[in-house]
């Protein structure tokens, strides 16, 4: 029981530390660098994607274990829906704006 407790506590602490580092990196990328805008957009987006994965793994306990299969399928299906709906919105409205210019 006590070893389990320590292991879970360490997992939360590790998640907190990694998330804090990624957050500081994202803010630092905007505040402390003078990289061109596209570079900043790509780097911050990649940092955000990584941080979401870290939160899912360490805080929401979404791991690749077999007992999590239902949840993983649910999350994967939701990502598919988001890609279709949000991606489709961006594609169509972006295209429309270009034609209106």
């Amino acid at each position: 029981m006590n070893a389990d407790y320590r292991r879970e506590l360490q997992s939360y602490l590790a998640g907190l530390a990694i998330a804090a580092v990624l957050t500081v990196a994202a803010f630092g990328c905007v505040v402390w660098t003078d990289w061109p805008r596209p570079a900043v957009l790509w780097v911050t987006a990649a940092l955000a994607a990584t941080q979401v994965a870290v939160h899912l793994r360490y805080f929401l306990h979404l791991t690749w274990r077999r007992s999590n299969l239902d949840r993983l399928q649910l999350v994967a299906f939701t990502i598919l829906l988001v890609v279709l709906m949000a991606g489709g919105t961006l594609w169509i409205l972006g295209n429309l704006r270009e034609r209106m210019m």
Partner: protein
């Protein structure tokens, strides 16, 4: 009650808790679709400022950085609350972690409301442009979720005080922690795509 029956009961209550958590995941994912579409609308509106103020005129990174830190810390403290509960630490430590999470949530909301009021004062209300309308839908929707989370924490503190740590109260606190962690995930999207990329 025979050993078989009590074993059967334990099995049933276990499955029910698992099912409840999975059902809550389904809700969270439907909420994620809602936020994803609000993000998509916001992204299509970023240049629709109608001659009004844009991202660089109305956003400040200082307050956003503090809000980000506060929400990340609260995500950790609610994790500590679930650990205190799962490993049968004292009721006091569970209540303390819930109270700390609540305090951080209220602090986050206070900072956000102050920022939004400052935007009104700077001549950037939601009626000014499509960009500001989209912003005032996306960010306060997250704020309303945090408000709901705070109400939920208060409810759980009252339930722990009145019912103790019964099975139902435990699964409710587990679902509350999922909800709270989820709000922090959405906030990662907001501080990146709205604030950081708006000011980049």
């Amino acid at each position: 009650m025979s050993a078989y029956e009590s074993g059967h009961d334990a099995l049933r209550s276990h499955t029910t808790a698992e099912e409840q958590l999975f059902g809550f995941w389904v809700f969270l994912m439907s909420d994620l679709v809602l936020f994803a579409l609000l993000f998509a609308v916001y992204a299509t509106m970023t240049s629709a400022t109608a001659g009004g103020p844009g991202a660089k005129q109305v956003f400040g990174l200082g307050s956003v950085a503090i809000q980000t830190g506060v929400l990340l810390a609260s995500s950790f403290t609610i994790g500590m609350a679930t650990l205190a509960m799962t490993y049968g630490r004292s009721r006091g430590s569970l209540l303390l972690w819930l109270a700390v999470t609540l305090a951080l949530g209220v602090l986050f909301l206070g900072l956000e409301v102050r920022d939004l009021m400052a935007m009104y004062a700077k001549g950037a209300p939601p009626t000014r442009s499509g960009f500001l309308s989209a912003f005032f839908v996306l960010v306060p929707t997250h704020g309303l979720h945090v408000t709901a989370g705070c109400v939920w924490i208060v409810t759980m503190i009252v339930q722990v005080l009145t019912f103790g740590r019964s099975g139902d109260v435990k699964t409710r606190i587990l679902r509350l922690s999922l909800f709270w962690h989820f709000l922090d995930v959405v906030w990662v999207g907001i501080f990146t795509f709205v604030y950081l990329q708006g000011l980049a």
